[in-house]
């Protein structure tokens, strides 16, 4: 198994873990982290698959991932701002009607 494939499979594992976490968790910060795990897993799959046997990785996939990372950072920061505001306004850390733990 090539290292690139190993990275891709690890990324797939992160993706699935993040997806499960996103479905299960209710705390907004945890959900955001799970969502980021999904994103990071996807990036790892792309970067892993872009590794080529001759040593030169595919620059197109790398550029796509770099673009994705920057957007993901901005989206995460915006989500944090929104959560902060939500918490300030309602005092809650989750969206549904259940009481906080």
């Amino acid at each position: 198994m090539s290292p690139g494939l190993l990275y891709a499979l690890a990324g797939m594992l992160l993706f699935v873990m993040g997806l499960a976490g996103f479905a299960l968790l209710r705390h907004l910060l945890r959900r955001l982290m799970a969502f980021n795990l999904v994103g990071s897993g996807t990036f790892l799959v792309l970067v892993g698959l872009a590794q080529r046997p001759d040593g030169e990785p595919d620059p197109v996939a790398q550029a796509l991932v770099l673009t994705g990372i920057v957007v993901a950072i901005a989206a995460t920061a915006l989500a944090l701002v929104l959560m902060r505001r939500w918490f300030d306004l309602t005092g809650r850390t989750r969206l549904d009607g259940e009481a906080d733990e």
């Binding site: 090539s2 690139g4 494939l5 891709a8 499979l9 797939m12 594992l13 993706f15 699935v16 873990m17 997806l19 499960a20 479905a23 299960l24 799959v45 892993g48 698959l49 080529r52 030169e56 990785p57 595919d58 620059p59 197109v60 790398q62 550029a63 796509l64 770099l66 673009t67 990372i69 920057v70 957007v71 950072i73 901005a74 989206a75 920061a77 915006l78 944090l80 701002v81 929104l82 902060r84 505001r85 300030d88 306004l89």
Partner: protein, 223 residues
């Protein structure tokens, strides 16, 4: 109960995805984008393939990306009602930290400039440099160095939008003068990419720092 169902579904998905990943990894793509980029690298105006893809071959992605960033930045900053006011309780009063920050901030600015320049021929570029810029700004803010330039005002607006507007302008000029949208004049592509990247660095740094400032603000603390 719910946790069990989700776990089983996730494992099932993983079981389906793993062979797909293996199959994709072993598939022969036929025409390789990698060689395509290598053969056209001369014409891109830069020597590093990733930068060539980001700022030339797939400049569309980067243009839209900085657009998304500007929208995210503006949204985030308009949500924080207090404006970019320094929060004294977040600051550290450690003298060692202050002394170190005074050394680190110029070094980080230098590093950002180097990363920006390095992008033309080795790993580096606008995003890495912008991230370092934002980190320098966070450090200045946490140690209480003056960060008045992040306060809402014309300078902030200019800084936020400079990267996107200049990129869009270059793209539109390309379309208006008979080339394609986002096609650079062949001889000018190197200098144009450098100008765009410099402004992108500035804008990305400001947007990330602005979002950091907006997220750290406490709503109840505004006057």
């Amino acid at each position: 109960m719910k946790a069990g169902v989700v776990t089983v579904l996730a494992l099932l998905l993983g079981g389906i995805l793993a062979p797909v990943v293996v199959a994709v990894a072993s598939a022969d793509p036929g025409t390789s984008l990698h060689t395509l980029v290598q053969t056209r690298l001369e014409a891109s105006g830069v020597e590093h393939p990733v930068t060539a893809v980001l700022l030339n071959f797939r400049a569309y992605d980067t243009l839209l990306e900085i657009g998304v960033l500007v929208v995210a930045g503006i949204t985030g900053m308009s949500l924080s009602r207090a404006g970019a006011r320094a929060e004294p309780e977040l600051r550290s009063t450690n003298t060692l930290l202050h002394a170190l920050a005074r050394w680190f901030v110029p070094l980080m600015l230098l590093l950002a400039a180097w990363l920006l320049w390095a992008g033309s021929h080795r790993p580096g570029g606008a995003f890495q440099a912008g991230a370092v810029l934002a980190a320098a700004g966070v450090m200045m803010r946490l140690t209480g160095l003056p960060t008045a330039w992040i306060a809402p005002g014309p300078m902030l607006r200019l800084g936020l939008s400079a990267g996107f507007s200049v990129f869009l302008l270059v793209a539109a000029v390309g379309a208006l003068t008979g080339r394609a949208f986002l096609a650079y004049p062949p001889l000018l592509s190197g200098p144009l990419i450098l100008v765009i990247e410099t402004l992108l660095t500035l804008s990305i740094g400001m947007i990330l720092l602005g979002l950091y400032v907006a997220a750290a603000q406490r709503d109840g603390a505004d006057e």
